[in-house]
């Protein structure tokens, strides 16, 4: 009897471990649809809309190298030109020309519209969250795995994410982003998939406020340049030079 219980327990542990590994693999593969290479520059525009107001458009150049190094240059509109963000792992700085120096800020601070700093400065869900498989659902006719992502530390943008990843191609389809209180903050939809540099990439992310559904921000991923970026681009002391 005791041996049977032990066998069942061991089997349960192995199965749950295998499911966790599968969940992590799913998230890692879905991350690849948002990261075309190890070192690249991507032009992103964010269109923020609220009710009947005219949309505002913000432009960024995002420099990425390795897992956790991201430099974001603000290129539009004119009032933001000269600003930049640097994310090194879980550390984030903003460079403001008026201050003349990089200033430490939290990831959770809002960047523009419904977009937090972490939405463009961090794309490593597999590194930042523990994933578990929670079931299967269809989103707009696409069969998906549903994953629960829990933050590995408090230093990430969201406390939890509910993540829909397509069964075919393992691409990100939908995400719900939650605060530590369990409150739904916003919903994201990934679409406009294109083949770029041999990868199938999501080139649009639409973020909608959970309470005010008329508040939306659309991230469009445009021109992509894959190249080996110098390490000094990811040094806070170099931010003023890249202005």
């Amino acid at each position: 009897m005791c041996r049977l219980a032990l066998t069942v327990a061991l089997t349960l542990v192995l199965v749950s471990s295998a499911r966790a590994d599968e969940a992590t693999d799913l998230v890692r593969e879905a991350d690849r649809a948002r990261r075309p290479a190890d070192s690249f520059v991507w032009k992103i525009s964010i269109t923020s809309q609220e009710a009947k107001k005219a949309p505002s458009v913000d432009g960024f150049e995002v420099f990425v190298k390795g897992g956790g190094r991201v430099f974001v240059k603000f290129v539009a509109p004119p009032r933001n030109v000269g600003r930049s963000l640097l994310a090194l792992g879980r550390d984030l700085w903003i460079y403001l020309p008026d201050a003349g120096k990089p200033v430490r800020i939290p990831f959770s601070q809002r960047l523009v519209g419904q977009v937090a700093n972490g939405d463009i400065a961090r794309a490593d869900y597999a590194g930042d969250y523990d994933a578990t498989l929670a079931g299967e659902e269809s989103v707009d006719g696409v069969a998906c795995h549903v994953l629960d992502l829990k933050a590995k530390s408090k230093e990430v943008t969201y406390s939890a994410i509910k993540y829909w990843v397509s069964k075919e191609g393992r691409r990100p389809v939908k995400a719900e982003f939650y605060a530590a209180t369990g409150t739904l903050l916003k919903t994201g939809l990934f679409d406009n998939f294109k083949d770029v540099g041999g990868h199938r990439l999501a080139t649009r992310l639409t973020l909608t406020d959970a309470i005010r559904k008329d508040r939306r921000s659309v991230l469009d991923y445009g021109e992509l340049t894959v190249r080996d970026l110098p390490d000094k681009y990811f040094d806070k002391n170099y931010m003023r030079t890249l202005d």
């Binding site: 923020s48 609220e50 107001k53 505002s56 458009v57 539009a76 509109p77 004119p78 009032r79 933001n80 030109v81 000269g82 090194l88 792992g89 879980r90 550390d91 984030l92 020309p97 008026d98 201050a99 003349g100 120096k101 200033v103 430490r104 800020i105 939290p106 990831f107 959770s108 601070q109 809002r110 523009v112 519209g113 530390s153 408090k154 230093e155 990430v156 605060a179 903050l185 508040r215 110098p230 390490d231 000094k232 040094d235 806070k236 002391n237 170099y238 030079t241 202005d243």
Partner: protein, 440 residues
């Protein structure tokens, strides 16, 4: 009319980039040009209520990158303050000093050689982690003609300098600065809107004040320092050392016999040598960011009202330090709270500088900002208080983003406190402001 012409010229410069969808030539891709035009209006609320600023200000800033490793940058700033036409409350020396300005704000050659980056030319070199304070921001002199109310990039006076940074390892770099440009802080002239409270000399003898004519360039008096910056496990630490002349003049007294008349008291402004040793620290404990700074200034001297002091000046090494936290409330209100102290290594009795209230002068700073209507309406409030004597500055402001290029700002600068305190000296200078800024 002048503004219309300037705007037309700028539009002509900017428009082709937007109008032509074709790939721009290589030189155009290497060139970055931007600028802003601002109209700044201020109305003084007391004694008497009157316009105190009607300034048209323009900035033009360009960068040309010859390659990824070599670039040149230049920036010019000019202004015209029509308040001197609108009112006759300011004397001629203030009008000469503040009515117009055309200055080179940046002229810089930037060269990258592997892990070494060199910046040579006229520039601002900004050290420190804190916001709205100068504890370790010691390299550039400051322009205090409008107190500390403008943006800090406007307050800093650019200097000709060599600034070299070498990356020793990932997250570790050392920066060396050297400058023969020894220009000093710009202080408001007598009769200016933000003239500092005057030293209460009570001499029976005639007094002669010598001009402050320290050379702006001097190899012998050149200044410099180093900063070691380390980032480990999210801890952002820097150690600094800087050797400079005091950027504010210290009035040394001496008595000169003038027989058969009485002795004349000569006030001689000097800039004693200072050695500044400091450290900065910043760390994010998401969602809180903590920052701290400290600077020990050796060789600091202060004027004293003690009549028995032979030269009217005493030496007091001084420690300035601060600690601050940033936190976002309700995911919408960004706040920054800072506590700072100036600690004199010795008695502060008889010292008359407005920023020195006691041997330990304590102040607190609170800044809060939020956004409404998708961040198009952004209220900000800055409150800075001297704890010892209860003087304070309160500066509320609302920025309205009319478009991506145009911002309207309405605000106020309110000062309260006893006379001869840092903020109390401007007790009668409360003002409301209205600013329009167009960026391109």
């Amino acid at each position: 009319m002048r503004r219309v012409l300037a705007a037309a010229l700028l539009l002509a410069l900017v428009a082709p980039a937007g109008a032509d969808e074709a790939e721009p030539p290589a030189w155009a891709k290497a060139l970055r040009l931007r600028g802003r035009l601002a109209e700044e209006f201020a109305y003084r609320l007391h004694d008497p209520g009157d316009v105190s600023k009607l300034k048209t200000l323009g900035w033009l800033d360009g960068k040309y990158a010859f390659s990824e490793s070599v670039a040149v940058r230049a920036a010019v700033r000019g202004w015209y303050d029509a308040v001197f036409e609108a009112t006759d409350r300011y004397p001629a020396n203030v009008e000469r000093d503040q009515k117009t300005d055309l200055s080179l704000r940046e002229a810089l050659l930037i060269v990258g050689l592997g892990d070494l980056d060199v910046r040579l030319g006229r520039q601002q070199i900004v050290w420190g982690e804190a916001i709205s304070t100068f504890v370790t921001d010691v390299v550039n002199p400051k322009d205090f003609r409008e107190f500390v109310l403008p943006d800090f990039s406007e307050l800093r006076i650019p200097i000709w300098a060599l600034d070299a940074t070498y990356r020793l390892a990932e997250g570790v770099s050392v920066e060396g600065v050297w400058t023969p440009d020894t220009r000093t802080n710009k202080l408001p002239k007598q009769g200016a809107e933000f003239q500092f409270a005057r030293f209460p000399y009570r001499f029976r003898n005639p007094v002669v004040r010598l001009p402050d004519d320290a050379d702006e360039f001097s190899l012998a008096r050149s200044e410099g320092g180093v900063r070691l910056s380390v980032l480990r496990q999210g801890w952002d630490v820097a150690l600094i050392y800087y050797d400079e002349a005091d950027k504010s003049p210290v009035l040394f007294q001496r008595r000169v016999a003038q027989p058969p008349g009485p002795e004349v008291v000569v006030l001689d402004p000097q800039h004693p040598r200072l050695h500044i040793i400091g450290a900065t620290l910043a760390k994010s404990f998401e969602p809180v960011v903590m920052r701290a700074e400290a600077a020990l200034t050796l060789g600091k001297r202060y004027e004293t009202a003690n009549p028995l002091d032979p030269d009217g000046v005493v030496g007091r090494d001084t420690l300035d330090w601060l600690v601050g936290v940033d936190y976002t409330f309700f995911e919408t209100v960004d706040t920054a709270l800072q506590l700072s102290q100036k600690v004199l290594m010795g008695s502060a009795t008889n010292l008359t500088r407005a920023g020195v209230a006691a041997q330990v002068t304590t102040s607190v700073t609170l800044r809060a900002t939020t956004g409404f209507f998708d961040n198009t309406l952004n209220p900000t409030v800055l409150f800075v208080a001297g704890v010892n004597r209860g003087d304070f500055r309160l500066s509320p402001r609302i920025d309205y983003l009319v478009s991506g290029a145009v911002t309207l700002s309405v605000g106020a600068d309110l000062f309260e406190g006893p006379h001869r305190t840092l903020y109390g000296q401007f007790d009668r200078n409360d003002r409301v402001t209205f600013t329009t800024t167009w960026r391109f």
